[in-house]
């Protein structure tokens, strides 16, 4: 018995040292904050540094300034930032002022997936991925919400909106919100009954209207005429595609790798997106929005791009 206890203790010490040793060795030093005073007002590209999981801003010269703010997903426009902060069981939406101060926080239930701010900086949206045990038979579900930062109106779950005036099926899921310039209309993906479709939403009327099938994670161009989205391919991948809202014509973009992201328009001609690289982490790439050209690397070890003007 004594020999067995000794063996168990030795194993525990040995395995414990391996676990603690590995953990301590993997611990990265707190990232050096290159420059204090990052703001969301100055021109540049807002990023999430995938090596540190923290908010960073890259200037036009490619120089990156890091912050101490940890986020799983980011977006910003017109001085309003949104940071989806990860947690083990639940997440948090943190509304940021242009100097990265916390203006408000909302608890979320799930894993951060998408975040967006309207061009004016007034409307904020998010999507989390609800891992919920098995209440839906092991299938994933998402939950998206919208906050009007001016009036404080909060729609915590867009599944409570109507679809053409009627309540949606209980299996409905909404994800990937993008805002129109009037700060009331928005576009999103609605999944119900096995169909995934692009819907146009009306925040004031709390209603969704389906437009087209097989359009996921829409992103409206700054001029409001086109939507960049990921189009599901038969092989299980996604093709970054642009949809013209006037005639619903589709243009596949020059990026042929599978892009599973909600793209961000840098201007009316270019979209940016994250693409995972080997190991954990991703790079941010950009490609022309008219189907021409080739993808170019914007920022290594980064995701969640958002243009700052």
């Amino acid at each position: 018995m004594n020999r067995r206890i000794l063996a168990a203790l030795l194993s525990a010490v040995l395995l414990g040292s391996v676990a603690v040793g590995y953990t301590v060795l993997r611990a990265r030093p707190a990232p050096a904050v290159d420059r204090a005073g990052i703001t969301l007002d100055a021109p540049g590209l807002l990023l999430r540094d995938t090596r540190t999981g923290r908010l960073a801003v890259q200037d036009s010269g490619g120089e990156r300034a890091g912050s101490a703010l940890g986020c799983a997903r980011l977006y910003a426009a017109a001085g309003t930032g949104v940071c989806l902060r990860e947690g083990l069981a639940s997440a948090q939406l943190v509304l940021l002022g242009s100097d990265l101060t916390e203006r408000r926080s909302i608890p979320l239930n799930g894993v951060p997936s998408r975040a967006r701010v309207s061009g004016s900086g007034r409307m904020v949206s998010w999507t989390v991925f609800v891992t919920g045990d098995s209440y839906n038979g092991g299938r994933f579900s998402t939950r998206s919400g919208i906050l009007d930062t001016r009036t404080g109106t909060l729609a915590g779950n867009l599944e409570n909106f109507t679809v053409d005036g009627r309540p949606p099926d209980p299996d409905a899921n909404v994800w990937g919100v993008t805002f129109a310039v009037d700060d009331n209309r928005f576009y999103a993906t609605l999944s119900t009954g096995g169909h995934r479709s692009l819907v146009r939403g009306d925040f004031a009327a709390r209603d969704l209207h389906p437009l087209k099938d097989n359009v996921e994670c829409p992103s409206l161009s700054p001029d409001g005429t086109r939507i960049a989205y990921k189009k599901a391919l038969p092989n299980g991948g996604w093709r970054l595609t642009v949809l013209n809202l006037a005639d619903l014509a589709e243009t596949p973009l020059a990026e042929t790798r599978s892009v599973d992201d909600q793209a961000a328009w840098l201007d009316d001609r270019t979209v940016a997106y994250g693409l995972p690289h080997s190991g954990t982490g991703a790079d941010v790439w950009a490609v022309p929005a008219d189907g021409t050209g080739t993808p170019r690397l914007l920022a290594a070890d980064a995701d969640s791009p958002a243009p700052l003007h």
Binding site: L15, A19, A89, F140
Partner: protein, 416 residues
């Protein structure tokens, strides 16, 4: 608090030593389950974050991975149960299961970005879990006298639950030190799983059959189990129990919707049930030994019926949340280990693992089916009607279970 009073290697069941009869082997198995559950829950807690935020895998891919359960695990559980009986080595088969799950932790590191490889690794982990459960429970039934089985399973399930409780906290601590490095969680989880394996090898004594006749159980004999009236009754009771249980997620979701629990608190609902289970498993096991296992099992089912009725009952606010979670935990504490304690003594020793695997598989498959049925009922008639139908289902299961199991020798030979 009960564990401190347990003295291993005593078999007398005097009034002052009510818990000592549980014995060292059950404690050893409990310790193995505790460490293994710490390891498993560490990974479960960070896996969604790792896949979505770390690897940028989409929810769809994750949904596919998540859906890898059910059928294959059930088959493996049956095969593992039979293999353990056939070669008469339950510890070896359980060890293989624990080993597979430990290896799966490192597999997560090796799988990298490939959704297919990650799916395979999760499959290996579930296969390990499927393999080990029946031999482990069979070993528990063989390690204590029949009159103490309720307490034995109660103590084991309590230790198991403590591990499940601690796992996410350990993962949180590792992530706090290692920053974004999810791989540190997997390596630490692997080390904890290895410790569980070491504890199994060192401290768990196998219960080999008495003679050569106990070895080489032919498949025909295993099939013959199905002709055993006691097993048929147990199997039917397990299926009824599974059918009466709609998915846990439904209970939490309904509670959250009706009581408008802030979403940030949502994960704590499951913690509430787990806490009640943890606290009640051992006392209810003792109660089952003393006053009979069937009454406790039926009482647990009644608690489940009350849960479903309360979900759309007159009570509102915090009282209903606390009551529902306490009763939900009580249901699990009064049924999970108690059913095994009922099953153990009536199954022939040389086919006990196969029998336990059959009973557990029946319950698991019925549970999957009832979750699907409940989902359909919810869609068709809304949550209020669906929960009342579920309560009716529990009542029907309860009335059918009572005569089914009354024929078994449920009353222990001597009370503690």
């Amino acid at each position: 608090m009960y564990l401190s009073t347990i003295r291993p290697h005593r078999t007398d069941a005097g009034p002052g030593r009510r818990w000592s009869v549980v014995g060292g082997n059950v404690l050893a198995l409990g310790a193995v389950s505790l460490t293994t559950d710490v390891s498993a829950e560490m990974v479960s807690a960070v896996l969604p974050l790792y896949l979505v935020v770390g690897l940028h895998l989409s929810p769809v891919a994750y949904g596919l991975l998540d859906g890898l359960n059910g059928g294959a695990t059930v088959l493996l559980r049956l095969a593992g149960g039979y293999a353990a009986d056939r070669i008469g080595r339950r510890k070896a088969v359980a060890g293989l299961g624990y080993g597979l799950s430990a290896a799966a932790r490192l597999g997560l590191l090796a799988a990298g970005h490939s959704a297919a490889a990650i799916g395979l690794v999760i499959g290996v982990d579930r296969a390990g879990k499927g393999l080990r459960t029946a031999p482990r429970d069979a070993l528990i039934t063989l390690s204590v006298p029949p009159h103490a089985l309720g307490r034995a399973f109660g103590v084991h399930r309590t230790m198991d639950a403590v591990g499940a409780f601690a796992g996410p906290l350990v993962a949180l601590a590792v992530l706090a030190v290692a920053g974004q490095a999810y791989d540190a969680v997997f390596v630490a989880s692997f080390c904890v799983a290895c410790l569980g394996l070491v504890l199994l090898l060192l401290f768990v004594r196998d219960h080999r059959g008495a003679g050569p006749s106990a070895r080489a159980v032919p498949l025909r004999a295993a099939a013959g189990l199905l002709r055993l009236p006691a097993l048929r009754r147990l199997f039917a009771a397990a299926v009824l129990l599974g059918l009466a249980t709609v998915g846990d997620g439904f209970v939490y979701l309904l509670l959250q919707r009706r009581e408008a629990v802030a979403v940030g608190w949502f994960p704590l609902l499951a913690v509430g049930t787990a806490l009640a289970y943890l606290l009640l498993a051992a006392p209810l096991g003792a109660l089952a030994d003393r006053y009979g296992r069937l009454p406790v099992l039926l009482g647990g089912q009644a608690a489940l019926g009350a849960v479903y009725l309360l979900l759309h009952g007159p009570l509102r606010g915090w009282p209903v949340i606390v009551l529902v979670l306490a009763l939900h935990g009580l249901f699990y504490a009064a049924t999970d280990g108690v059913l095994m304690a009922l099953a153990g003594p009536v199954l022939p020793e040389r086919l006990r693992t196969t029998g336990i695997a059959l009973v557990q598989s029946g319950q698991a498959l019925a549970y999957l089916a009832s979750s699907v049925l409940f989902g359909l009922a919810w869609q068709a008639w809304g949550p209020a009607t669906a929960t009342r139908l579920a309560a009716l289902g529990v009542l029907l299961a309860l009335t059918a279970t009572a005569p089914l199991l009354a024929g078994l020798h449920t009353r222990p030979g001597r009370a503690g």
